[in-house]
Amino acid sequence: MKNRGIALKLILLILTSTMIIFGLIFGYNYTFSRRIIERNVEENAKNLTFTTVNKVETVLHAIEKIPENMAYFLENSSYRKNELLNLIRTVVKNNSEIYGSTISFEPYAFEKNSLYFGPYFYKSSGKIRFTWLGSESYRYFYLDWYQIPKELNHAIWSEPYYDEGGGNIIMCTYSVPFYKTISGKRQFMGIVTADVALNWLEEIVSSIKISQTGYGFLISRNGMVVTHPASDLIMNETLFSIAETRSDDRLREIGREMIQGKSGFVPIHDIVSGKKCWLYYAPLPSSGWSLGVLFPQDELMADIVHLNQTVFLLGIIGSVLLLVVIVFIARSITRPLRALARATVDIAKGNLDIEIPAIKSHDEVGRLGESFISMKRSLKQYIKELTDTTSAKERIESELKIARDIQMSILPKIFPPFPNRPEFNIYAIIEPAKEVGGDFYDFFLMDDYLYFAIGDVSGKGVPASLFMAVTTTLIKAKTGKGMLPDEILTKVNEELCVGNDTSMFVTIFCGMLNIQTGDVFYSNGGHNLPYLLYSDGGAELLENTGGMALGVMNDVKYQTKKVTLHTEDGFFLYTDGVTEATDSSENLFSDRRLKEFLQGVHDSSPTKLIQDTVGIVKNFVSGAPQADDITIMALKYLKK
């Protein structure tokens, strides 16, 4: 994930969360709609079942009334044999639902000499037929239709049975006991029956059609299947035998509830197809039978399943669509970003002329693109300016170099400068720093006098260089024959102070050597005091003359002092570039080190002395950049 592209991350995150949301909605929708359907099914089942029950009950009640009325008549009237026969015949004739009827008496109850008295009228092939019930092989006293109501003392619907003579229709008998009060005692006299063919019942129940395969079925009090679409169950199986065959304890329990006259709504597997169904069952109160109505679950759920399939399909399509949209969005973001990335690789390589791909959108990516373009433009501008500046700087530097060259050319550079004067030897160098500095040295002969000077202009660069040029020129120009150093410095100072708006100044040490005598007159204008080097070794600072730097203020008085050199004595002059040379740890070379070095020098020519000095200073700084010019001048008096 870490290293994957934005597109993949977007797809994974958005799709996953969308799927979860969709799944939740789908699940809720399914559960909820299912619950609604279930509720509706139960309500429908209940209504349908009770409607059917009522329909059946209405008919049964009407039939019940007939033998009940006959029993009432028998109990409250006196009658003769013919009247009885007529009554039964009329009842069978006039009631289409009644298949047959009898009024059967207890042994010897109607006629003192006959054991059986059971006139029976019944319908057969559209005609009313008559027979006497009761014989050795048909002892009706012990048959259910007679015996049960007798023993129970109330009317009862019999279990259904096949009428074997009447062409395989299921029959059922409603038997009503009747009594006679004899000397205050209510005595059982016999049974009035109405035989009812149950084909109309079958019609009513089989008219129950739910969806494709839903149906109704009827079971008797014993659980016997009375009507059912699977006709081989009818009158063969009870719900309990079916339950036993299938080892279905639940079905047995449901069957028990049904025959106990309860009603309920339960999930069940259809006993024929095994499909999942709901069963609503309710009793037929008159007969104690039970009506069950099966609602096939899958068919009732078909709509909801279909709906859910559609919703699911839409979800899938939506997800695919979403995927496409995410890919599109992701690519619209990443395509310019990738182009930008490619462009910046080129920019990083320095190719600022590359075309940054234009991003049309005005979103964050668009703004990023614009920033890139303006960054590239700024970079380009900056680099151009940098190039210009650099070339300008280079020009200035080359000009400065020229200025320095010119500056250096002012100074005497040919050594030995006076080959025909063996009385002295003089040598000087300037080790220039990178920046143009303002150090200088100078010397010239005037008759038997050697004038020499060393100086350092304040500041750096061209102004210092120019000031130095002015100073050296002035020194040369103002020096007259036999003029002492203090006079020179005074005059130069006066000239320098004129119009010195830049407040620049210069330190100068100026000396005058009488070649013949070795006397040296010197004056100092704020410069490092030179060392006097003795011929026998040893070095000491000259005595100061106490003058200040030149160019600072007018009317400064300089003094001249005198020191006499003997043969092989010398002077060592330098600028602060020597003593202030610093190593990388900012330690100064210092006066102390210089003095120690000079005191150790013995019998050395000026050239060598200077080279040694430069060597030791460079050794000290050991490669640290040189901040200031190093200027040294050495003089040795050689006249014997």
Binding site: D144, N236, I242, E244
Partner: protein, 328 residues
């Protein structure tokens, strides 16, 4: 048992050879079970269907029994060569002059029982006092009456028909039932076993072995092989039925349906399983077909006490063994 089977095998094997040799010489015979086709007689129907009778040299015709065809009448009037009868029925018949013999006592344990609903407060024999009891006719009343006498019970006896509705509706407190038949019908009318109190007579010292195979004495004298062949084939039929329940049920259901009787497989299955318990009960150490003298005497004495017979017929002339199966 193993030995029996071995001998049976040898017997069957020999018979098969002879039958094969005399394929054309099958002897015709007829058989009537004492009730309508149901798994109570599965062994005979299975033996017939599987050709066991033919194998034993018999070309058998089975006549359906039923309320209108009394097996004993058929046997005595020679309309049938073989019949099944209850032991008590057969003893009475013989005592009254019929010359019939028991050639195999199939059912060793009486299946007749009384059933009551626990809800009517009946849990032990004494509770039957003063109750209405549904009883069948004649032979079916022997054990109940002996039972009432044994426990000194005064009951109101209500004649019971073929249906149990009187009991189920509460018209009687106690009903008669055959364990393999009506008891299961009660269960399949939605009563649970734990809601019922049962009184098995064999548990109360009143074991009356029931179904046995009978023929006329003269038939037995005349053609011993035929009789024993019939018994052998029948026992083989029973054994086959017990070990091939599904096939036996298919055969039975075919015959029940053909007789236009209500049929359900669960009921026939129950019946077949109970017949196995009755014919080959694990706790009675006799080989199939044996009639024990003590069982015979118990039934006969009861008949005499009830005045149904005057003299107890001689056991040896009543029961004839076929050596082939009487090995144990």
């Amino acid at each position: 048992m193993k030995k029996t089977i071995l001998i049976l095998f040898v017997f069957i094997f020999c018979k098969t050879i002879t039958v094969a040799a005399n394929e054309t010489a099958l002897k015709s015979a007829s058989f009537i079970p004492h009730w309508v086709p149901q798994a109570q007689f599965a062994g005979y129907y299975v033996a017939y269907e599987k050709g066991f009778y033919k194998k034993n040299g018999i070309d058998l015709t089975i006549i359906s029994g039923g309320p209108d065809r009394l097996a004993s009448d058929y046997l005595e009037s020679k309309q049938a060569d073989f019949a099944t009868l209850w032991l008590s029925t057969a003893i009475q018949r013989q005592a009254h002059g019929a010359r019939l013999v028991n050639i195999a006592q199939m059912v060793q344990k009486s299946a007749l029982m009384l059933v009551a609903k626990k809800s009517s407060g009946i849990t032990k024999p004494q509770d039957l006092d003063g109750k209405k009891v549904g009883l069948w006719d004649a032979d079916y009343q022997l054990q109940p009456r002996a039972f009432f006498k044994k426990y000194d019970l005064k009951t109101t006896i209500i004649p019971q028909s073929y249906s149990l509705n009187l009991f189920l509706r509460g018209g009687v407190d106690v009903a008669s039932a055959m364990w393999y038949n009506e008891y299961h019908t009660i269960l399949n009318a939605g009563m649970n076993p734990d809601e019922l109190t049962t009184f098995f007579f064999h548990e109360h010292g009143l074991n009356f072995p029931e179904d046995g195979i009978y023929t006329l004495e003269e038939t037995f004298q005349k053609d011993h092989d035929l009789c024993c062949g019939f018994v052998t084939a029948s026992i083989e039929g029973w054994k086959y039925a017990f070990s091939h329940t599904a096939e036996a049920l298919d055969i039975m259901i075919k015959y029940v349906a053909a007789a236009h009787l209500p049929v359900n497989r669960a009921h026939q299955k129950w019946m077949l399983e109970r017949m196995k318990d009755l014919i080959a009960p694990g706790n009675i150490p006799v080989s199939t077909g044996t009639l024990l003298p003590e069982d015979y005497n118990r039934v006969a004495r009861q008949l005499k006490e009830n005045g149904l017979i005057n003299e107890i017929p001689d056991f040896r002339s009543f029961h004839k063994k076929c050596n082939a199966y009487d090995e144990k």
